[in-house]
């Protein structure tokens, strides 16, 4: 398609904003029925709607349960639907209100954390109340997170639903930490841009019609794919008050070019996705508190929202932006995307001046992050191929933790660098010459993106490895073949200063599994190397064992807790494949292969992911 930048602007009349009662109610006994709170909340909603409309933008109004009890809020939605074509939708955020608390006898407010029975009751209640107010069922819904079981229930009972806000990118342990361990939104590991969730697991996109949950999911906010990966997600998104929370503005001029840079970098992603790019802004009223927030007065909070809308409005006037409602977007998405088409993002640091570059890839089989500042190492890997059934909420093994598990996560389980002992999770390679060894993680470089048939190809700039007596120039390509659930890594040896030197490569993957910083029980993991009679096996027992087979082309790990089999394979006949068990201080496993290399040679390896029941 021609470059098409689609934007969803979403507002919700949240009568008791999540932050307002805690922040502005300090020093008062809790009273979520305070008239002043309700009036202010509605005023903020009106301001948001007017600002969007003044800039020529269409909105999706996500009615909250609380707002359905407020005649003025209902009438406002009807009027704006009539006048501006806004979609009237229904969010599962904003549950708290007197009516909800009296009925459900709880202060819980996150739909995914309720028991399945309560989820169904609440959904029926909320959807029923919506129907009562508007005479139809909504086409869009959402929350910060929508677990698969919840989505499946809604789709079955209310088939009009075609779009939902379904996760918030990398809102997990980092967000929990930032809030002094008080904000339990633990759902790392999902897509950053819209996708069709599978029936089995919300994070994992559907691979085909049979897996299709029937909705198009959109993220809650469009987030900085470098800053949010490393730091507090709530500072770096297309949410003007997030940018203020991150203190990313000039306190004297009240300017914040970063917000526009972030929107523009999202526009730039069209280059990697066949001309399509996406953005969403969804600011809850609590962020536009009249008392000010994050050290700043209301005037700056208001200005930032006006500026954000103004920028979208300007882009629209210039023909560079299409504003759609959520339901319209779902139709657009299904008309323009296939199940296996990946979402790609070659992302540049636009804030810290580090010149770092990451590449994010998501398809129905995996989510992966390649770090060019570490020589093209894979630093985050989620095996979606397992389509892990991961029920969440009260009565399940995961009351709060909705993250999709990783095999590699350099922030939670170290990457290349560890303290004094052990290893961290990463997929990289070492170049070896005699007793010297250089890891490509220390070779900072950049990449360009290309699409070659069904392959998405990252071509990294060549890097030099300098040993005491010899140097090697090497180029890496990371190739994602569409629909194949594997990543090919190709290393071409461009130059060797001494052709007689004995140089070898050690391709490796250090991995584990988990959703947080803390180690999990590794004892069910089975490692093996080689095929048939020559195969060697290790059942994980923290005994630091190793096994290698000359000429073997495969090293394998089966990780039952995440129902995943991962293999490292090669097409080389002269490689030695190996597996390494970890130990208590290094609860990891390693798959790898070594082989001698010479100038002009291309070494191919594949990281393959399969479901293992």
């Amino acid at each position: 398609m021609e470059n098409t930048f689609v934007v969803n602007v979403i507002h919700r009349p949240e009568m008791v904003p999540e932050y307002a009662e805690k922040v502005t109610g300090q020093g008062k006994a809790e009273d979520i029925g305070r008239k002043a709170l309700l009036t202010e909340s509605l005023d903020i909603f009106k301001f948001q709607q007017k600002t969007a409309h003044d800039n020529g933008l269409k909105c999706t109004i996500q009615m909250t349960y609380a707002s359905l009890f407020n005649e003025e809020a209902v009438q406002l939605a009807k009027d704006d639907h009539e006048k501006y074509g806004d979609e009237i939708a229904l969010t599962l955020l904003g549950l708290p209100c007197k009516e909800f608390r009296e009925k459900y006898k709880t202060k819980d407010f996150c739909i995914w954390m309720f028991s399945m029975e309560d989820k169904k009751n609440i959904v029926d209640d909320v959807f029923g109340k919506f129907y009562e107010c508007f005479g139809f069922y909504p086409e869009s819904t959402g929350s910060y997170y929508m677990d698969a079981e919840l989505t499946n229930y809604i789709k079955e009972k209310y088939p009009s639903i075609k779009c939902a806000v379904a996760t918030c990118w990398e809102e997990g342990p980092k967000a929990y930490h930032t809030t002094n361990n008080s904000w339990y939104t633990l759902f790392d590991g999902g897509p950053w841009n819209p996708w069709i969730p599978s029936k089995q697991n919300t994070h994992a996109p559907a691979a085909n019609e049979a897996e299709d949950s029937g909705i198009v999911a959109i993220p809650h906010l469009s987030r900085d794919l470098l800053a949010c990966y490393d730091g507090n997600g709530s500072n770096f998104g297309t949410h003007p008050q997030n940018v203020l929370r991150g203190m990313i503005y000039d306190t004297k001029t009240w300017e914040y070019p970063y917000l526009y840079n972030l929107i523009d970098q999202y526009r730039h992603l069209a280059k990697y996705n066949n001309g399509y790019s996406y953005n969403m802004m969804f600011v809850g009223p609590g962020w536009l508190n009249k008392m000010g927030r994050w050290e700043q007065p209301y005037e700056l909070l208001k200005k930032s929202y006006e500026d954000g809308m103004r920028y979208y409005g300007e882009l629209k006037k210039e023909g560079k932006l299409i504003d759609l409602t959520m339901a319209e977007f779902a139709d657009f998405y299904r008309a323009n995307k296939t199940y296996t088409e990946p979402e790609c993002a070659l992302w540049k640091d636009i804030l810290y001046g580090s010149n770092k570059q990451l590449f994010w890839y998501v398809d129905p089989f995996m989510r992966a992050c390649v770090n060019m500042d570490q020589g093209g190492a894979i630093v985050d890997l989620r095996p979606y191929v397992a389509k892990l059934k991961w029920e969440v909420g009260i009565g399940t093994p995961h009351v709060q933790d909705a993250s999709y598990p990783f095999l590699i996560q350099e922030k939670y389980r170290a990457g290349y660098f560890t303290h004094y002992a052990g290893e961290g999770t990463v997929r990289s390679a070492k170049i070896c010459c005699g007793a010297e060894e250089v890891d490509l993680c220390l070779c900072r470089t950049h990449a360009t993106f290309s699409q070659e048939g069904k392959n998405r190809v990252l071509t990294l700039d060549p890097v030099d490895i300098e040993f005491a007596e010899v140097s090697v120039k090497l180029q890496t390509k990371v190739i994602f073949p569409e629909g194949e659930s594997r990543i090919q890594i190709s290393r071409e040896i461009l130059e060797v200063s001494d052709p007689a030197a004995e140089i070898s490569i050690n391709e490796y993957m250090v991995a584990c599994y988990g959703t947080t910083e803390y180690p999990e029980d590794m004892t069910s993991i089975k490692l093996s190397v080689g095929d048939g009679a020559d195969a060697k096996k290790i059942e994980y027992a923290y005994k630091c064992r190793e096994a290698a087979v000359e000429g073997a082309k495969v090293a394998e790990a089966i990780i039952p807790p995440v129902q995943t089999k991962v293999t490292l394979t090669t097409d080389a006949d002269d490689a030695t494949s190996y597996v390494k068990e970890g130990y208590a201080f290094s609860p990891m496993f390693t798959l790898g292969m070594t082989k001698k290399i010479r100038k002009g040679e291309v070494i191919n390896t594949w990281l393959n992911l399969e479901k293992a029941n």
Binding site: G27, H177, T178, M247, T251, H268, W294, E295, Y352, G353
Partner: protein, 70 residues
């Protein structure tokens, strides 16, 4: 000594912010200072604002309008 309150804006602890922690500070009107419940930071409003400026050292491109994303 009377209890502390929130102060006129919800100033966060600049020291905790540097380690990715958002902690609202409380205001001790007797000592005329903000203080952090979690760490040992205390400071006047002026000091908080000064430290908040310092925090921005890491945002080297904060004020640059970027047009090249390749």
């Amino acid at each position: 000594m009377a209890q502390s309150g929130k102060g006129k804006l919800n100033y966060r602890c600049p020291s905790c912010f540097m380690r990715d922690l958002d902690i609202d500070m409380f205001y001790d009107k007797d000592k005329k200072e903000y203080y952090c419940l979690r760490c040992q930071y205390t400071g006047t409003e002026e000091d908080v604002l000064e430290k908040n400026e310092m925090i921005r050292f890491r945002y080297r491109k904060m004020m640059e309008r970027i047009t090249d994303f390749d």
